[in-house]
């Protein structure tokens, strides 16, 4: 439903794990849509993408946390979190 309403007929789907090795890191740029599946996130964690930004504890939670393309992840001081998990969907180009 979510994909068909955007005109996506074919896509690649996988799980994407972002290992948090530093307090601030940027993912490679791509055309993917990332749906956050990790729970129990520390207060102050920021995930900022091209279309959506989340700051845990201050931003009103949406039902679906969807991030598009490149992401900037900022861990607050003292937070213990070593990974973030997403379902990633990359639309495939359709050939007429």
């Amino acid at each position: 439903m979510l994909l068909s309403s955007r005109g996506v007929k074919d896509y690649h789907m996988d799980f994407y794990t972002l290992l948090l090795l530093e307090n601030e890191q940027i993912t490679p740029a791509n055309r993917g849509w990332h749906f956050l599946v990790s729970g129990e996130l520390p207060n102050g964690l920021e995930i900022i993408s091209e279309t959506h930004a989340l700051k845990v504890g201050t931003t009103a939670p949406a039902t679906l946390q969807e991030f598009t393309g490149q992401m900037l992840v900022k861990l607050p001081e003292g937070a213990v979190l070593d990974r973030l998990d997403f379902i990633r969907i990359i639309p495939k180009s359709s050939v007429a």
Binding site: S5, R6, G7, E46, I48, E50, T51, H52, A53, L54, K55, T58, T59, A60, A62, E66, T68
Partner: protein
């Protein structure tokens, strides 16, 4: 009959680094967004004019269309007085699906020094309605 209408959304920014969601539904008679303007309203005597006061991302039609991801500038009162130009309208040509949400976010980029002064960002959508 086609006409032009402007819809304004005001975002309240209450702390440094704040992330404020953009979430609204434009009038169902709006058929196209042909321009968008984002203006920081507030006076911060300690801040010079900067081009990167905040960051704005806006998607239309349930994120199907994402024409805007840009920096939002701040013009100090002094600059505003002597400037011959005003922060401009970003031209768009985005067809709108009736009743679909406009989503996105504004992020403060921490250009104010302590203490932080809360401010507003006015986002104006210029629409063609039918």
């Amino acid at each position: 009959m086609k006409s032009v209408r402007r819809v304004t959304q005001v975002l309240e920014v209450s702390q440094a680094g704040a992330i404020v969601p953009v979430d609204l539904v434009l009038p169902s008679e709006a058929k196209e967004c042909f321009g968008l303007q984002a203006i920081v309203t507030g006076l911060f005597p300690e801040v010079e004019s900067v081009i990167d006061f905040g960051e704005l991302s806006v998607s239309f039609n349930g994120r199907e269309s994402h024409p805007i991801h840009q920096l939002v500038p701040y013009e100090s009162a002094q600059t505003r007085q002597v400037s011959t130009t005003r922060i401009g309208l970003l031209p768009l040509s985005t067809p709108l699906v009736s009743g679909s949400p406009v989503t996105g976010f504004y992020r403060d980029l921490g250009r104010q020094q302590e203490p932080f002064t809360p401010y507003q960002v006015r986002i104006s959508f210029n629409l063609i309605t039918e």
